[in-house]
Every structure is written in structure tokens, then in C-alpha cells.
């Protein structure tokens, strides 16, 4: 494993990042990744502040993915943003979005608190209070689940197979979409794998990084790297429920925090959920006892997955299930990019970025849109009106229907699942 080193001079100014940048295509307020990244980085060595246009980078990492010279352009932007915020404090909204883990913990401190928080958020949106904090009133703010994944996990009885993996749910699966995590456990059990959790994992830090809280993100990184190294020594794969988390853990930590990562092979053991399942498939270890699932699906590959050099594992896996017709949307970024589209001054840009994807999905009219990223799913449903699912849920459904068999039972299960 090589450690990422940032060398802005490797940029040849070929402009491929500018051409592909979804934000630059949607608004002229953003000068584009080449300018705010490697070009201005040279200026920043002698100047203390940054170009105001930097605020508009969404950190979707399309620039990093399309750079032929290996420059992590967006990471240069995030480091510069953190420097800017050393003297210019963030808005309340940015604070809230960055500290999603603390917010979620507060909302779940007492029974019923989650429902109350959700109610509070929707009232806040309708009366304009969100706007005062810099949050968009129209944006699809995720609601909290009544019971977090980690709480639900304790109630699940698994068969303790000798093959074990450690699940890193990430804040979104843990607090907003625990069902995706529970579905993962069911799928793993069907593959004779026992899923462990680690209560000492903390937020990967992705929302902290994009809002300029680099010091806090580094503290989280130190904790997570320590825990992951521990599992790596035992030979246990660590599997994430969200591509933004796996990106942060395995790739961005190495770009942002060389002091923590140089000479440490912790990242070798990290897999995104569908990446791990595809490995099982390619090693002929995947349980292929799928039932027919008659569904038309459209797959959206999240930007934070595409930059991980993995291709589209979910597309290949779901195509194994009989009855499924699945097509890749191939229509660019959804626009949300973590918490970008929740901000009031970014909402319109995010919707414009996602517009090609929304119209592609609306036109195809699938039964479900499928995407590995929870935030992409929220935005897709918000923009297109089509329900969206994590690919793991489709796999679980294929196993469940295989176990039960009759068409009537299948319908009943489908109804219960969705």
C-alpha cells in the first residue's frame, strides 16, 4: 500500500477535472477544481486566505477520479477550507451538519426523543427556522430512526459462524437507516458469516472535513485507525455500510492525516459492503440460492464509491438475481454530496446538479432506484419521487423469498419489507 502524497505540481492543467466537475457545470460561482485546487494552492503558500469560490466545492471527488496525474484536488480544497475556518467561524447550520453523530446521540438519549426531534425538524423547516441557521427549508433532511442500528443489533440472535467480519455502520445507517444494517446481517448469515460490531468506532469524520473541522476529524481518525488496526491484526475484515465512510477511512485519512497513516497498513482490511460481497462472489463463496425477484431497478453509482477504484460491484451482484432487470443511471452526481445540498445557499445548486439524474430515473420509471449511499437515496427520492433502496435490501429479499418459496409468501414479505 502506498501512502497518498499531495503534489499540486503534478497537475498539468489539462482541465479534465473542470470539464467533469458537476458543481462548475451548475454554477459560475465555483471557479472549478483546477483553479481552487492545485492552481490556488501555490498562492496559498504565500497568502493567508482563500478565494471565496472555494466554499462551493462539494467534495464529491469527481476531480480526483478524473485526474490523470493522481492529484487529490478536492482534498487540497478541504485543507484550504479548514485553514479559512481557523479565523472565520462556521454557521450554526454547518456546525449541526458536521456533528451529526452528537446530534443523533442527543436525539436518541431518551425513549421517544427521535420522534420528537423529527417533529421539531419538520416544524423548523416549515416555519423558516432552519433557514436562519443556514439550512435549506426544502431539503430532504433525514429523520432519525426510533431505534438505532447498534441498539437493534443487541437484540439479534446470530449463528456464531467461525467466519467473522466487523461492521462499521456509519452514522447514517446507525441513526437514520438501521434497516440497511439489519439487512446486511441477514445476508451475511445466509453466507455463514458472523457479523460483529465495535462500540468504540466513532463517526468517520466526513461531515467534519467538508465543513472545515479538520482537527476534530483527526481525533476521530486516530480513534478509528486504532480500532481498525486492532481488527486487522486479528485478520477480520471491517465492512462499511456507506461509501462515504469507506472512502474517508481507507483513502481520505491517508491524504489528510499522513502522521496517523504513514507506515500503517490498517486500510488493507476495509471494504465497502458491496465490494466485500463481490469478493465473496469472485472467490465462489457467495451463496447463490436466490429466488426470482421480479423487479425493474435503476442503479445510481455514488460519486464517493466511484472514486474508490472499485467500479460498480452492486450492478454485478444484483444482476446475479433471477428476475431482476437493472440498468445503470449513468447520469452524474445526485448533487447532495454528503451535506452540501442541505445548506440553504447550496440547495438550488445541488438540485441543478442532480437534475439529469432525476429526469433519467423519472423517465425510466423503475420499481426502485438503488444506490449504496443513504444520502444519494434521500436526494434521488426527493428529486425524482421514486423510492430508493440500498442494494443489500434487494439481496436480502432474494434470500428471503428463496427460503419461503410460494408467490403468495413472496408478496407478503415484499409488503412487510417495504
Amino acid at each position: 500500500m502506498t501512502t497518498h502524497q499531495i503534489n499540486p505540481d503534478a497537475c498539468t492543467a489539462c482541465t479534465v477535472c473542470v470539464v467533469n466537475c458537476p458543481v462548475a457545470a451548475a454554477t459560475s460561482k465555483f471557479l472549478g477544481p483546477k483553479m481552487t485546487g492545485p492552481a490556488l494552492e501555490r498562492m496559498r503558500l504565500s497568502q493567508t486566505d482563500v478565494d471565496p469560490s472555494l466554499e462551493y466545492c462539494s467534495n464529491c471527488k469527481t476531480c480526483d477520479r478524473t485526474c490523470p496525474s493522481g492529484v487529490p484536488v478536492s482534498t487540497l480544497n478541504m485543507i484550504a477550507r479548514a485553514k479559512h475556518h481557523e479565523k472565520n467561524p462556521q454557521t450554526i447550520g454547518e456546525y449541526i451538519l458536521s456533528h451529526s453523530e452528537q446530534m443523533a446521540k442527543m436525539s436518541g438519549a431518551l425513549p421517544g426523543m427521535a420522534a420528537l426531534t423529527n417533529l421539531g425538524m419538520s416544524i423548523g423547516q416549515s416555519c423558516g427556522a432552519m433557514g436562519m441557521m443556514g439550512l435549506a427549508d426544502q431539503a430532504p433532511l433525514p429523520s432519525y430512526a426510533g431505534r438505532s442500528f447498534l441498539k437493534s443489533y443487541k437484540k439479534i440472535k446470530q449463528i456464531p459462524y467461525p467466519d467473522k467480519v466487523v461492521f462499521y455502520p456509519g452514522c447514517y445507517v446507525n441513526y437514520n437507516d438501521p434497516q440497511a444494517g439489519l439487512d446486511f446481517i441477514e445476508v451475511m448469515q445466509k453466507n455463514k458469516i458472523h457479523v460483529l460490531i465495535d462500540p468504540d468506532f466513532v463517526c468517520c469524520g466526513s461531515p467534519l472535513v467538508v465543513n472545515g473541522y479538520l482537527d476534530e476529524a483527526e481525533k476521530n481518525a486516530a480513534k478509528n485507525i486504532n480500532r481498525i488496526s486492532n481488527w486487522a491484526e486479528k485478520g477480520y475484515p471491517v465492512i462499511t455500510g456507506c461509501p462515504s465512510c469507506s472512502l474517508m477511512l481507507k483513502q481520505e485519512y491517508r491524504e489528510l492525516f499522513p502522521a496517523l497513516t504513514i507506515g500503517n497498513n490498517y486500510a488493507m482490511t476495509i471494504y465497502d459492503m458491496m465490494e466485500y460481497l463481490l469478493c465473496l462472489h469472485e472467490e465462489n463463496r457467495l451463496n447463490h440460492k436466490f429466488a426470482t425477484v421480479s423487479q425493474k431497478l435503476m442503479y445510481h453509482a455514488p460519486c464517493h464509491l466511484k472514486v474508490q477504484s472499485l467500479g460498480t460491484p452492486a450492478l454485478e451482484l444484483l444482476a446475479q438475481i433471477p428476475g431482476i432487470t437493472i440498468e445503470e443511471a449513468d447520469a452524474g452526481c445526485c448533487g447532495m454530496s454528503g451535506c452540501y445540498g442541505f445548506k440553504s445557499n447550496k440547495y438550488e445548486i445541488a438540485m441543478k446538479v442532480g437534475s439529469a439524474l432525476f429526469s433519467r430515473i423519472k423517465k425510466a420509471a423503475p420499481d426502485y432506484a438503488v444506490s449504496d449511499c443513504g444520502i444519494c437515496r434521500l436526494q434521488i427520492t426527493h428529486g425524482s419521487g421514486i423510492s430508493s433502496l440500498h442494494p443489500i435490501t434487494i439481496l436480502k429479499q432474494a434470500y428471503q423469498t428463496a427460503a419461503i418459496g410460494s408467490p403468495a409468501a413472496r408478496t407478503a414479505i415484499a409488503a412487510a419489507t417495504f
Binding site: M1, T15, S28, G311
Partner: protein, 414 residues
């Protein structure tokens, strides 16, 4: 994808052509690419051959093909296959509703942003060279604040070329709504795709350009490989557009990339982006797998056959060091003099081919890499595109032609 039939390294026009072609034959195809390609730099035309070795313009691409040395990639590919590749590209572009026109028996001369004409073989529907050839009156239409395309300068230069055969006039319209100091052709293309931009463009152009005119314009006629914007504009204005070869970013080049990529995906090609392959496992002259080491763990990809389409010195397939050139994955031999001063002519755009441009991998007629004795070094790795030895695409104007033809041949498997 492990154990696929064909693994293609490189996602440029060569790699995508090979992938599409292999997938058409029901092969399991994995394409691996690093970087977003050079589509925005290429202008979307397919140049097959424009000039002979002495720099003299050819009457037709075919005339040139008949007189190439055996070492030229086209001689390895053979004329029949080059023609097949051209017909294939016309077929798949037609299926997307964005049909390319031209053939080996005619040279198309298209305008450039320097006010010169450049020879090419195949053009997209947005570059109607026939209309330019036939028109008596031509308008060069630019945009104020757009620094890559000066209509008056272009019109004056073209007038010198055409003399009394045509009258060339210049006009420019103004865009008020988008960033002015960094305006690119791609920004204008995106503006034209908005309802307001379209209406603004039509109302200004109606005043500036007479009906039935041939209009030379920068490559701005939409970002998607279809004719919807072109047709709408031509219907609204009753003119014919000819996009000029211009400074990057070229929307016309991006359209071709999008078209090929969509076609490949629709045929089931699996594409992994942002993955740099840096080594190969070779046993008895046969590749057993390739791997990357920049990711969080070493990943190995295996296939029955491999196609190396990683590009040349610019694309990253070949690496120049002081006194030597190397190929970055298979470490194939690249012949280059140790004296670097002999690598280039002092006149960059002189009337001679550049030696550095011709450095590359030597292959046999099956596109397998060969040693000095002509024997294949590898038996299941084909070489295609800019990393091939023996041609200077910029001098002879064969860019994209060698790409399409060698990609087509490499991807046509048994």
C-alpha cells in the same frame, strides 16, 4: 471482474472501441481506466490520414494508406480492417442518432480557430464540411469575451484561402448571463442547452446571420451525442452549422467519448475508473494477471486476453526518462536513442515528423508486441492506440484514426 474474457487497460477512444467491439461478440469485458481521458482535447473528428511523409496534403485518406511503410500501424492493421472500423463507427453513431459521415475516398477539409483548414476523414453531424464546400457566403460566428475564437481573425484568414470563391464575414454575439473572464466553449454549450440561452442565441443570431448561410462556430452545439440541439437551432435559424476545430475543452470531443462509453455500458462492459494498473504477472510469455498498488490493498485482475491501450507519452502509457523510454505495465522494450538531443527536431511545427512521436511498442500483424527478431514477446496481450510505434499523428493527421482502427482490430477476437 475476475476471470473475464478480455481485460482492457485504458479508457480512451482506443480502449472504448476495443471494449465495444469485444462486447459485441458476447465476450465478458472488463475495462480499467485511470484519469478522465483526453476527449475534451481531441475535437471529435476521426482523422485517418491527411498528409504524406513529406508533409504534402493527400487527395484522399486512401491514397495515403497505399503508400505507407510496413512499420506504420496502419500497415499492420490492413486497409480492409481500417475500412471495417470506419463503417462500424458510422453504424454505432447512427444508432445513437448522431451519425458520423465521410469515408476513405474523400478528404474533408474543416475550419479551425486559427482560420486555417485541416484535413479529416469522419466528422460528426455538427461539422458539415459539405455545406462549407458548397456555400458562397460563410459567416464566422463568435462570442464577445470568448478568448478561444476570434471571428474577425478567422474570417480574414479563411478569405485568403478561399479568395474570390467565397465571401467570408464575421459576427459576434454577447452572452450576459454567464461568467465572462473564464468563458469556455463548454460553458457556451451548456448555456445553449438552457431554454433562456437558446432563445437569446436565436434572437441575436437572426439579426447577425442571413438565412441559408453556412455558419462557422466554436464547438458549442450541445454536450450530448445527439442532434436535438443542432436540429432545433438549424430549424429556428434556417442556416447550416460547421463547428470549427478549436481550443479545449471541446464539446464535440466530449460527445464522442460519451457516445462510446454509453454504447460500451449498454453492451455490458464493466468499467472501473480511477484504477492505475502498474504491474503484470507473466509466465512463459503469457500474462496471468495485472495489478494495482495505489489502492488500499493490492488488487489483481485476471482475463484470458489483455488489450493495452494506455496511450503514449501524454496519456501515461509510455514514460520518458533521461535517455530512455519505458512502457509502464509490461516493461515492453521501447527503442529510443540514448542521446536525447536526437529525440526532437528543433522546429516544433516544421515540415518533418518528430522522432519522439514515433517512439512506441513494435507489434506484428496481430498487434502482439514483438522483440527485435520479430517474435511475439507476449501471446495474450494486444497493443492498440497511441502507444504503437511508427507514426506521428499530429504531423500526418491520423489522430483517432489509428485509435479506432487498432482498437477495432484488437477487440475483434475469435
Amino acid at each position: 471482474m475476475q476471470n473475464c474474457d478480455v481485460l482492457i487497460i485504458g479508457g480512451g477512444i482506443t480502449g472504448l472501441t476495443a471494449a465495444c467491439r469485444a462486447a459485441e461478440q458476447n465476450k465478458k469485458v472488463q475495462l480499467i481506466t485511470f484519469g478522465g481521458g483526453t476527449y475534451q482535447i481531441g475535437g471529435g473528428t476521426i482523422d485517418v490520414l491527411g498528409y504524406d511523409a513529406a508533409g504534402k496534403p493527400l487527395d484522399t485518406p486512401l491514397q495515403g494508406l497505399n503508400n505507407l511503410p510496413d512499420s506504420h500501424p496502419y500497415s499492420k492493421i490492413t486497409q480492409g480492417i481500417i475500412n471495417e472500423a470506419i463503417l462500424w463507427l458510422k453504424k454505432i453513431t447512427a444508432s445513437a442518432g448522431y451519425v458520423y459521415s465521410g469515408d476513405l475516398n474523400q478528404m474533408q477539409w474543416i475550419p479551425t480557430a486559427a482560420g486555417t483548414l485541416k484535413p479529416t476523414c469522419l466528422t460528426p453531424p455538427t461539422i458539415n464540411s459539405n455545406a462549407l464546400r458548397q456555400a458562397k457566403h460563410v459567416t464566422v460566428l463568435g462570442f464577445t469575451h470568448f478568448k478561444d475564437f476570434y471571428p474577425k481573425f478567422i474570417a480574414e484568414n479563411l478569405q485568403q484561402i478561399y479568395g474570390s470563391r467565397k465571401t467570408i464575414s464575421a459576427a459576434a454575439l454577447t452572452i450576459d448571463t454567464i461568467q465572462k473572464n473564464t468563458l469556455t466553449a463548454l460553458d457556451i454549450a451548456r448555456w445553449l442547452e438552457t431554454e433562456a440561452g437558446f432563445a437569446d442565441f436565436v434572437s441575436q443570431t437572426k439579426i447577425l446571420v442571413p438565412k441559408k448561410a453556412a455558419v462557422i462556430i466554436p464547438p458549442v452545439l450541445g454536450t450530448n451525442p445527439d442532434c436535438s440541439l443542432l436540429n432545433k437551432l438549424q430549424a429556428a435559424l434556417d442556416v447550416t452549422f460547421i463547428e470549427a476545430a478549436s481550443m479545449p475543452p471541446s464539446a464535440a470531443g466530449l460527445r464522442l467519448g460519451k457516445l462510446l462509453s454509453r454504447y460500451a455500458k449498454s453492451r455490458g462492459v464493466s468499467i472501473i475508473e480511477n484504477l492505475k494498473i502498474d504491474s503484470a504477472i507473466i509466465e512463459n510469455g503469457s500474462c496471468q494477471g495485472v495489478y494495482s498498488s495505489h489502492t488500499n490493498r493490492k488488487r489483481i485482475y485476471t482475463a484470458k486476453q489483455y488489450i493495452l491501450a494506455t496511450g503514449g507519452l501524454y496519456g501515461g502509457g509510455l514514460l520518458a526518462d533521461t535517455g530512455s523510454i519505458s512502457e509502464t505495465i509490461f516493461r515492453l522494450p521501447i527503442e529510443a536513442p540514448t542521446d536525447v538531443l536526437t529525440w526532437s527536431n528543433t522546429e516544433l511545427t516544421g515540415n518533418k515528423m518528430q522522432p519522439f512521436a514515433q517512439f512506441g511498442i513494435k507489434v506484428n500483424n496481430d498487434l502482439l508486441p514483438v522483440a527485435d527478431n520479430g517474435q511475439p514477446i507476449l501471446t495474450n496481450v494486444k497493443i492498440a492506440g497511441r502507444n504503437l510505434h511508427g507514426y506521428d499523428f499530429s504531423f500526418e493527421k491520423s489522430g483517432n484514426g489509428v485509435a479506432i482502427a487498432s482498437g477495432y482490430k484488437a477487440g475483434s477476437l475469435n
